[in-house]
Amino acid sequence: MTDAAPTHLDLDQLADALAGEPHEHLAGCASCTSRLGELQAAEAGVVAALRALPDPPVPAELADRLSAAFAAGSPLAAARSSVTALPAQAPRRRFLPAAAAAVLLVSGAGLGYALVTGSTSGDDIAASGDSAAGLAAGRGLVQNASGADYADPASVSAALPAVLAGTARAAESMDSTAMRAQPESEDQADSSAELPAPAAAAVPEDPLARLRDPAGLQDCLTAVLPPEEPDLRPRALDYATYQGQPALAVVLPDPEPGKLSVFVVGPDCAAADAKVLSFLRVDAP
């Protein structure tokens, strides 16, 4: 931009010198040395001014939204929302009424972390409406069954390498234990009386069967994957558990290198409602 004195240090270089980076030029240049002293003095004033800056108060609307979200009870309750409810590349979201906030909050939270992807992964993946199904069912994604509990970080860490490799198979134990572990609250017991009695069930019904079926899986992934990210494909699927309950873990790329995003959804995950049980970011193995 300026060629006034190319031999002198520019402001960044002076700043680096102030931060402790040695610079040969300084030893022989009185002008720059003097300049460095000025900068040092000025910096003290800048720091003092910065330190005195008041924090802007949280807007009342935002405070209400946050309170509503955290007061809504469990994150599971708040998570019972459709991820697809989030408008794609939307007109900017305005402050929402508190009631709607909790719903949109969760979908936003997941998307904020999970659904940013490198823009160049769509080599041969059609950016069509059914890409999710193509990705999941037709693109060779192994239906892992690690048996991991995605509420337990240690369990996830242990399972992840095999899950990503597509070699995590513990289907037998997972299916049976998941069924047995499924507690029914009193008020649900009547309506679910048809469930096979665990002891009698030679082949217990697989609660995740619908999500193993390509159509059911597509339906679920439609909710999990954002419409504006047609190139995004899961890294892996794991038919596992969450807090002892059957759950599907959808492992996605994460914007941060070395990380993975994991959506954990319940057996009822569908386009209209992803039934997100948990969202976590984990270190890629």
Partner: protein, 217 residues
Amino acid sequence: VTQGPPALGLVEDPADGDARDRALLAAHVAGDPDAFGTLVGHHRDRLWAVALRTLGEREEAADALQDALLSAYRAAGSYRGDARVTTWLHRVVVNACLDRVRRRQARPTVPMPEQGGSAEPVDKHDALGARETALEIEAALAELPMEQRCAIMLVDVHGMSVEDVASVLGVPAGTVKSRCSRGRARLALSLGHLRNRPEIPPVPPAPGKAQSQGGGA
């Protein structure tokens, strides 16, 4: 859900509230429905300031903050106690904000909210109208490249240690120092603390203002 025992050796100063924060977080993980809201209440203003100063635009900052806090809400079980709770919360919020910045950059079709340009980051209702200097400083801060602004905001404005900020930003401490120093130098110039001698080339304005790469090893 595991949350290891509090790393007592790492709790430096009870007065800074970390012991309280850890207890609240543990209570949240254990199912206390009010604990997380209480925890956030202690840090909300500061975290809001982080989001607002990082993104420079109120609505997006609000979205980022709520996204981040809900993520923290759900990921609390993965907090391992090796950093202070407030550092962890800052990390979650800063990352949420930076994710948004990256998405802006990746999608040029999405209108770029005006970043700096004015004293926009400070709301006119913030009762700071009389604080002319605060507005000026905020405006100058908003003009800094993103990396420098983040580092300065956390270190100088919020008083975090360089080590904590390095942890928040995921960069070496030396990088934080460099970003701070460069950012302060720019602020010194733009705020008039430093005479702009013609023979010393100032750093050219970073292209695209806040989204530039400027600053840092």
